[in-house]
């Protein structure tokens, strides 16, 4: 059996591509088409978690006209208040970086590793 010339095979491939509407790409060069062909995944990603309206969100939406009592949130705020009264609240925000070091020095903590 005689060997078929490569040019003939290429012609055959090109013809096949034109018949089946595929792109003729003999050197298998990357065209990036797969990024356009793939389906968009965003819409289904967004729907993963069931929609949920929290009490805080609802109160914010109502515009302060009337609010639902949230026992958990009220308890949290009460705890924060109680901690503040015992002097265990969040520390004050430092005005500058130096202020923090001064504060540390006030406690007798050296920052330079001595």
């Amino acid at each position: 059996m005689a060997a078929i010339a490569p040019s003939r095979l290429a012609t055959l491939t090109r013809l096949r591509c034109s018949i089946f509407q595929t792109s003729y790409n003999p050197t298998s060069i990357r065209t990036g088409a797969k990024y356009l062909r793939a389906r968009l995944r965003g819409p289904s990603m967004v729907e993963y978690y069931p929609p949920e309206v929290s009490i805080a969100q609802f109160n914010r939406m109502s515009g302060g006209d009337w609010r639902i009592v949230d026992p958990q949130e009220d308890m949290r705020l009460a705890d924060v208040e109680a901690k503040k009264r015992r002097g265990k609240g969040a520390p004050k925000k430092a005005k500058s970086k130096g202020a923090y070091i001064v504060q540390l020095l006030g406690y007798g903590i050296c920052t330079s590793g001595c």
Partner: protein, 100 residues
């Protein structure tokens, strides 16, 4: 109330959804070997300017009930323990405990 990891995941999901088409367009240009290298390079630089929460790989399926990140049964979107609790309570249609 979802925990902070779930909130972060929701943020990532919304970011991916909002930027997906633009990112795909840049990806197409950057990966296309028919285009001149300079154009591809510019597209890649543009891709790098997108934020962390616009990449689909930052999205992780978490338990819809407890926010747990491991042991998720993807058909139900629940972690194995929440799945068990709900299945035993009869809240998942078509699921019942096997016994033989």
């Amino acid at each position: 109330m979802p925990n902070v990891r779930v909130l972060r995941d929701i943020k990532a999901r919304n970011g991916v959804n909002a930027n997906e088409i633009l990112r795909r367009a840049y990806l197409y240009v950057a990966r296309n070997q028919n285009l001149p290298p300079q154009v591809r390079y510019q597209a890649q630089l543009q891709l790098n300017t997108f934020g962390k929460y616009t990449r689909p790989t930052t999205v992780k399926n978490r338990c819809a009930e407890s926010g747990r990140g491991r042991g998720i049964m993807s058909e139900f979107g629940l972690c194995r323990y929440q799945f068990r609790l709900k299945a035993l309570a009869g809240e998942i249609p078509g699921v019942k405990k096997a016994s033989w």
